[in-house]
């Protein structure tokens, strides 16, 4: 399983924690899945996902800095793949100790 597949799995799992399993029954989470159009995510749900990912990956990622570079329509229209690539880049640069 590649690093990106692992991260994609993490995003999917934490997304399910945020929105509940029923919401994602008919939706397979892929790198092309968009948060607003495909998942109809509310902005607070995206933020909740970012909080869970921040907690999971710790200081290696900084989602506030990540979204600071974008307009709100870019953020909500983001694909899961964009988020996965950000996490992959940050965790490759600073792998967890031990």
């Amino acid at each position: 399983m590649s690093e990106k597949d692992t991260i994609l799995g993490d995003v999917g799992r934490l997304l399910t924690e945020v929105v509940g399993e029923d919401f994602l029954l008919d939706e397979e989470i892929t790198e092309d899945t968009t948060f607003s159009d495909d998942l109809a995510l509310e902005s607070i749900e995206f933020v909740a996902l970012a909080e869970k990912l921040q907690q999971h990956y710790g200081g290696r990622v900084d989602f506030a800095a990540f979204v600071a570079e974008m307009d709100i329509d870019e953020i909500m229209g983001m694909t899961v793949g964009t988020l996965v690539r950000y996490i992959a880049d940050r965790t490759a640069a600073a792998p967890s100790a031990g």
């Binding site: 509310e42 902005s43 979204v67 329509d73 909500m76």
Partner: protein, 244 residues
């Protein structure tokens, strides 16, 4: 994820930034608002140099939806409890967050260092009710379900509407209390509350005002401009040691 229970209700809060001084607490508006209103707009940039605390008001975002407690005085009491650990801080409010912030200033003057009111929802002559968002496209940017499921539950399953209707109006005497701290108002020229900045300046000439060419949700639609005004205001205030 940080949750805090105060006054019998579980609140979702968020801390941004690692700076140690000059905290900023950013307050969202009612109905479609949540801490995402500021997290996805100005809060990250502000947090580069100052610690930022965000919160979901009760019944909003991930905070518990209580039956009561939605009036500005009750919200100010929630704010009091949720910031009890902070030194004097700056309040940045959007829409009804401005009203709650004003009531907090009146109740807890020494806890407030400065105020920024973004689109304070003061009624104009046509009597638009406080707390409503008149620009649906900005609400849509915040998420399609925000304007349906969550808002419907807030309206139908709580006393929010009745409590808003019973709210005492913000008077010119109330607005004069803004002179107690450095204060900036940012309004949208195309908002139903476009007259608020002028009204506040008439009541309290010490308040600085800036009008942008936007509507009620200009913290979303004009995020870069609002962020620039916020950082400019925060940087231009007198240092803490010299503040009264």
């Amino acid at each position: 994820m940080p949750f805090t229970t105060v006054r019998g209700t579980r609140f979702h809060t968020m801390e941004l930034g690692s700076a140690a001084r000059d905290p900023v607490v950013m307050l969202h508006g009612l109905f479609t608002g949540s801490l995402a209103s500021w997290y996805l707009t100005s809060a990250p940039a502000i947090s580069a140099r100052r610690p930022v605390r965000l919160l979901d008001w009760r019944g909003h975002g991930l905070s518990e939806r209580s039956r009561t407690g939605y009036g500005a005085a009750a919200m100010a009491a929630d704010l009091d409890a949720l910031t009890a650990d902070l030194p004097p801080f700056t309040i940045v409010g959007h829409s009804y967050g401005c009203v709650a912030g004003l009531r907090f200033l009146q109740a807890r003057r020494t806890r407030v260092r400065s105020m920024v009111l973004v689109e304070p929802p003061l009624p104009d002559g046509a009597g638009h009710a406080p707390g409503t968002t008149a620009r649906p496209e900005a609400a849509a940017l915040l998420g399609p379900a925000a304007t349906s499921r969550r808002v419907r539950a807030l309206v139908e399953d709580t006393d929010l509407m009745a409590e808003l209707a019973a709210e005492p109006p913000v008077t010119d005497a109330d607005l004069r209390d803004l002179a107690a701290v450095p204060c900036l108002v940012i309004s949208g020229a195309r908002s139903p509350y476009a007259s608020a900045a002028a009204r506040i300046r008439r009541a309290c000439p010490a308040v600085r005002a800036h009008v942008l060419d936007g509507g009620h949700d200009l913290h979303v639609t004009h995020a870069a401009d609002v962020t620039a005004l916020l950082t400019g205001f925060l940087d231009a205030r007198i240092p803490e040691a010299a503040h009264g």
